[in-house]
Point group: D3
Chain length 339, copies 6
Amino acid sequence: MKAVTFGEVMLRLASPGHLRLSQTSVLEMTFGGGEANVAVSLALLGDEAAFVTRLPKNDVAEACVQRLRGLGVDTRSILRGGERIGIYFLESGASQRASTVTYDRAHSAISGISPADLKWETILQGADWFHFTGITPALSDPAAQAALEGARAAKKLGMTVSCDLNFRKKLWSREKAGQVMGVLMEHVDICIANEEDAEMVFGIKASGTEVTSGKIDHGRYVEVATKLTERFKFKGVAITLRESFSASHNGWSGLYFTGGKAHFSRRYDVQIVDRVGGGDSFAAGLIYALGKKKGPQEAIEFAAAASCLKHSISGDFNLIKLSEVEGLLGGDGSGRVQR
Amino acid sequence: MKAVTFGEVMLRLASPGHLRLSQTSVLEMTFGGGEANVAVSLALLGDEAAFVTRLPKNDVAEACVQRLRGLGVDTRSILRGGERIGIYFLESGASQRASTVTYDRAHSAISGISPADLKWETILQGADWFHFTGITPALSDPAAQAALEGARAAKKLGMTVSCDLNFRKKLWSREKAGQVMGVLMEHVDICIANEEDAEMVFGIKASGTEVTSGKIDHGRYVEVATKLTERFKFKGVAITLRESFSASHNGWSGLYFTGGKAHFSRRYDVQIVDRVGGGDSFAAGLIYALGKKKGPQEAIEFAAAASCLKHSISGDFNLIKLSEVEGLLGGDGSGRVQR
Amino acid sequence: MKAVTFGEVMLRLASPGHLRLSQTSVLEMTFGGGEANVAVSLALLGDEAAFVTRLPKNDVAEACVQRLRGLGVDTRSILRGGERIGIYFLESGASQRASTVTYDRAHSAISGISPADLKWETILQGADWFHFTGITPALSDPAAQAALEGARAAKKLGMTVSCDLNFRKKLWSREKAGQVMGVLMEHVDICIANEEDAEMVFGIKASGTEVTSGKIDHGRYVEVATKLTERFKFKGVAITLRESFSASHNGWSGLYFTGGKAHFSRRYDVQIVDRVGGGDSFAAGLIYALGKKKGPQEAIEFAAAASCLKHSISGDFNLIKLSEVEGLLGGDGSGRVQR
Amino acid sequence: MKAVTFGEVMLRLASPGHLRLSQTSVLEMTFGGGEANVAVSLALLGDEAAFVTRLPKNDVAEACVQRLRGLGVDTRSILRGGERIGIYFLESGASQRASTVTYDRAHSAISGISPADLKWETILQGADWFHFTGITPALSDPAAQAALEGARAAKKLGMTVSCDLNFRKKLWSREKAGQVMGVLMEHVDICIANEEDAEMVFGIKASGTEVTSGKIDHGRYVEVATKLTERFKFKGVAITLRESFSASHNGWSGLYFTGGKAHFSRRYDVQIVDRVGGGDSFAAGLIYALGKKKGPQEAIEFAAAASCLKHSISGDFNLIKLSEVEGLLGGDGSGRVQR
Amino acid sequence: MKAVTFGEVMLRLASPGHLRLSQTSVLEMTFGGGEANVAVSLALLGDEAAFVTRLPKNDVAEACVQRLRGLGVDTRSILRGGERIGIYFLESGASQRASTVTYDRAHSAISGISPADLKWETILQGADWFHFTGITPALSDPAAQAALEGARAAKKLGMTVSCDLNFRKKLWSREKAGQVMGVLMEHVDICIANEEDAEMVFGIKASGTEVTSGKIDHGRYVEVATKLTERFKFKGVAITLRESFSASHNGWSGLYFTGGKAHFSRRYDVQIVDRVGGGDSFAAGLIYALGKKKGPQEAIEFAAAASCLKHSISGDFNLIKLSEVEGLLGGDGSGRVQR
Amino acid sequence: MKAVTFGEVMLRLASPGHLRLSQTSVLEMTFGGGEANVAVSLALLGDEAAFVTRLPKNDVAEACVQRLRGLGVDTRSILRGGERIGIYFLESGASQRASTVTYDRAHSAISGISPADLKWETILQGADWFHFTGITPALSDPAAQAALEGARAAKKLGMTVSCDLNFRKKLWSREKAGQVMGVLMEHVDICIANEEDAEMVFGIKASGTEVTSGKIDHGRYVEVATKLTERFKFKGVAITLRESFSASHNGWSGLYFTGGKAHFSRRYDVQIVDRVGGGDSFAAGLIYALGKKKGPQEAIEFAAAASCLKHSISGDFNLIKLSEVEGLLGGDGSGRVQR
């Protein structure tokens, strides 16, 4: 399986431990971004994965390319130009205190991309899967156009196209998102979302009100998946089911809806090391499993297990091996020392 | 609202993570102390806050002043003189292992203070609230005298005076504490304590025995608050209710007793990052809320929420913003990432 | 009480926090190994403790000797020679992700030991207890021979001999382990194990199947202890009872079987800082308590409490003081700050 | 003496030690910028100093304000608004390898300033000195306008105005610089520059060619100062004389030209810890000394000594006390331990 | 130009700053080894570079591959197998105290290589240059055999072959080195060495004695180069000329002898950050320049400049860009900040 | 040779790198003090060395004992009691900026020592050498009394007694020092000093004035040594000759005056990593060499070489091996990597 993802990768600057930005004198420097995270996951699981973006010609961007390439991602189609790499600052929360993300991503190289600079036929050659998220079209009109052209080219080549809705309210309005994403969805096979995304972008939500607080109401998620499928004729819709008890403790599972049928994964109780990138690791797990022609139940279990493990990893990237996912799928979540 | 607090601020030297002092080759250098912690909290919440103490003229003390000033605390009334800044060493425990505090605070500059050097009328000008803790009078007789003069001056100026009993058995005996604090209480409007403090300092405890282990018996706390109020004619008594399951996990809530009526806050389940300074952040929350003329229930909820969040912050200071306390009060303790 | 332990001590190189080896640019450098861990625990609890091994003449090994000596372990009988100190790399897991240990211990100095170089009569002079683990004989034939000679000499001198089975599947086969350990057991008074060790090494397991998943079945452990005692005529058999809920959260207790009777300790719920060396701290606690002539129930409670606390300490060594174990035995596992 | 400075302060992200950006996983987080550096220096030397800029409302900017305020700088006139704080990345060179600065300052809050938002009459009330650098007008037209209005207001209030030319080729062209700075110079009393600045901005350079490589040719600097004075009627011109032997070793001295006479300072041989901000510390030293009504020779000696010491300090800010500058002026550059 | 290098890459564990191994609790984890260092340099300068070695299948080796791949080295021909990656411990000296290297490289994966596993015809396809050092054949007989086969295949394919003599007295005797290297030299075009290497391996040294201590005697180096050329018919001989004044300060230049003529580079005075890998960066610079068909004087200047800059970089790898080498060649060693 | 030293050991808290105390958020935690430094040096060189002091019973002091014991120092005669361990804060200077030491040592455990608690006959049993410095008697009268009793007991036992004058102006006046030290000198065989010490304590200085600035005037030092010898009948007087060019660069050599003859060591040019403890390492080198019955020239060369190397070591302790001193004595100060 060879997958290509397209989007923004940012410099991630995190305060160490649970320090606030006003307390720290050092920032941990890594990189991350929805589509880059997916590419890294796929490469580490064993697929061929290429990541497409636009980055400036400076030492920070160079460090980013080196990190991606080191992890096995094909970076040869990355355009170089523009002024800056987007940045986000992260404070890691705990207990009742939420993690905070401060974005400094405006005017990034990718937002000033010229869609014509991407030769999608060449880039996608030999690839099976194209993936992007709702963040990319939200960055700028040219970025949206580039994503659209990528998706179209992929469909023309017979590839599978997936999109994680990932609504970001600081980047665009619900109205604009609905309009732009609506057009993009025509070229999408597999839609990944959470209940909030669907409502924010497409106004799709479950009927009635959430009655059982603290407990996931499976029916509501099936309803959302069904409506999404009906509107856009997706081959599959995947939804992450996060129960946020606190910044330190979450419940985690997933739903994959396909062929009119809902498949729920096992539910995990997770102690959180870092939840940023959790959704991306879910998307990657799903793509990996579907790319390996696993059935829907197997696929959603794989996605949930891979992303469950992500929560124990610092940084956006899910640095987990296939054998570790398989171990958890096989039932071993005991955390016994592996000697 | 403008508040003035008076007491000792110490150099806090903590081993990183959960390391023991014998394991570490570096110590994390911050500053803290009951009344300084309250001043910082108030300044960050948006009040004007001044902190009064005595510090030596050296580079360590200068670093302390810079930190306080940076956080918005008015440090202009700090006396400079004496030989040393008090120090405490901290090992952060986990699970069944308790955190340990090793004090090295004897002979600190404030213990050798000359009460006459503090011109309280000037210092308190324009202020609404005066706060100190039971640690200050325990440091030395001159420090106790200075606290007394501060409280008297505050009352004369029509200010509200609060005191956190904070009994420290290594600093003085129960007898001496009872005698000195008894005199000070005459000038105190709001008394902050925990059940143990009241018993240690004034011999006030609930009748009968604690029957329900592991569960807070609300009635006993009301009894203690009632007795304190009766003895000292306090306008209000606030008590923190900590359930210490382990060094990693506590229950947390508070009681505010005023006008013959007990107001209990919501109870929080906290995963602990650092609980030193938790009581001070509660006092600050209460002062802030009462200073804003919030009612007793609202005030105790604010104090509990602010101090709940403190447990997620490293260091003595409660580096939390008003909007974060309000978010938790509004019901969001889910720890979802704030983007 | 004076104890002598014999085995390998390794350089332990751990990634910080929960980082993976591929993420980190620094490794935390400490030392550890079953028998060295026991010696350190005993020395810190107040016993005289000597550790015997073979280490190369280089700066890394010298740092190891300095650390052991600093902690109060008598290092004068350590042989110096050979080429390298064994190494293990450690990644600390969290939640469903297990910690991983990557060994690089082949060809270590102790594996090339000449048994005749150890003058056991001199080394053991004045000692009361000899301890080794199943790792030592697994390292090489000469190491096994040295352990055997040590145990024989200890028995001849009337000392108590204990052995922690500690089966390591990467070092030898079950067949070889059974044969070599069988011979060694003839000289052993106190056998320490877990259910898996007994089965792996001697094929001893409880009858029937584990029915109640997630809950420790006490009867099965008693059965294993009984069978071990019958086969080898041990004075006592101690078994650790670990419930691995996740890499972050375990249940912990122990069983001591002696005189035909099983003594179970109190069970602890532990939040894990570092569980490597947990079994060794249990062995040390048991040896300490038995050496102090405590009864079997008191001894297993001491061993369980000491090793419960180990889980809150970073590194192999259980850097806990006697007073802390006694505090926990006295019922204080509340983690309240010790001022 | 009370001084006000106006300009941009940036987040400075430096790799530790001499690491390249591609090697490091952490960045040291401090703040700096020409005019902020001057304000900090003046505050630490004992003057009153206020810094004026525009910063966004986010946690990074808040940390910056806290740092400035902690160091004694009056931050009350800082405007809050805009999207981002400028950033620069720093790699510290050594030997023949130069330090590199990667700017990411476009679109910063100050570049989008509305000049009318700065009420200069209020801001400058009670102040004696106004300082800015050539970087501020280079940021954007509104920033240039704001600097112009500040300088005009200062002159109207009878204050002294100083400007450090500080030409930055990445921010604007020589042509634009010459034109904008030419207008600004009409309001400037003291011009600070280096030979290159004068040539880049105003085309002013010494006649003939630099003959003695490796040795400062004093005459050429006097010529430049004379020409600058002639063109703009400055009261004084100060020029830094840096001899760059390598990234680790520089010669350092200064010239102050006033009343038609050149005053050269003593020359220092410096081992470099961090040379960024060296020029700003020179400007601050000069302003401090002239503000204290020191004569020209004394002033240039003070400026050179203060900035000599800056080279031993990490970060943009010159964290040096008056007593240390005076010690060096008094002849003690021996570096003997001060106990 | 495409180059292939073959040899060992080790885990490098260095104490931070100038700490001794007995002082540190962390080790800086990087990777290095003569031939890997050359491959990295070439990739960063812009050549295609592949590195061939044998590494075990574990997480430490995986981190090594990721680092090399990230830096642009083609790692696809690396064999995976064997038990361990070689390790070296480094203490960084200063002033009169030398840096120390403690090797722990015995039994590494590459020493147990099966020469037949390397399909040199495939590996070298499309390559122009093959490089190895005298360390590779010193590791083991199979490693020597593999190097020989590589060199032979390269010659057969018409490639240029270079070898850095790099005598390591702890790996083999002078006798064995002379014999094995003598055979290898038959396939070598470009020999890189220092005076000591030539004497240790081949007994080739200058006549007479070194008279001018502290000053490089150029004539002696020419004599050695001449003798080496005569014996082995090299196309070129390059020798590094290091003047070791102290661990902090060296002189550095190089000689390239070809066509009967000696070309000496400019001499650099270097303040040392890290000199390990200095020789390798010289070899890489030479290979790069000769591969670009530069003349002998230009080539030795390039090699000397590139390796001069290496001394300012932490770690084995010379993380220097082409533009930086060219800048130094152009005469700018002033270390002025690059903005 | 077995040596016993008596004095204070302090917690040393140093800011990392060249950071100022106001910049750092961590402090490096080591231990040091004149006599402890000497004991550590001797133990590492191969002598038996015991250190006598008084330390409180707390975790910080325990860490200190562990460090000393780990380095091979006999700590069994250390008294435990009192309230605190002395502390000093260190900022490491560079270039013209001096390192600064901020003491916080008043009220330390040793200052409150009861001289009678030290059983000198037992402590000194089997020892050959007793060493103390002028700091010990300066701490308090009881500490002076204890030093006196130690020196007397040592003389009675036929041991050699050495004293490093080490005048500390913050601890006592010149008058008091002269009086107390005068009495102590009666029991001293070897006096170690610098020119300033002799003048400060005993008013002994060279006649005339220092004419050649920047160059050591050997004659003046001989004159001081001669006068000291005449007054106190010392067997030998050793003086360190430090040329303080800057905080980064010193000249270093020594003089040993005995039998009416002056022996000057070779002079070293040192790049400074840490000069604190330099004098102590000189004293230790001298004691070691004299204890090994080396002649005066050999002894002063050894002392100078050992202490030259100390300047390259972080921390008070001279972590240098005998072989390294011998290497430097043998002429190798080239700093070439030792592989």
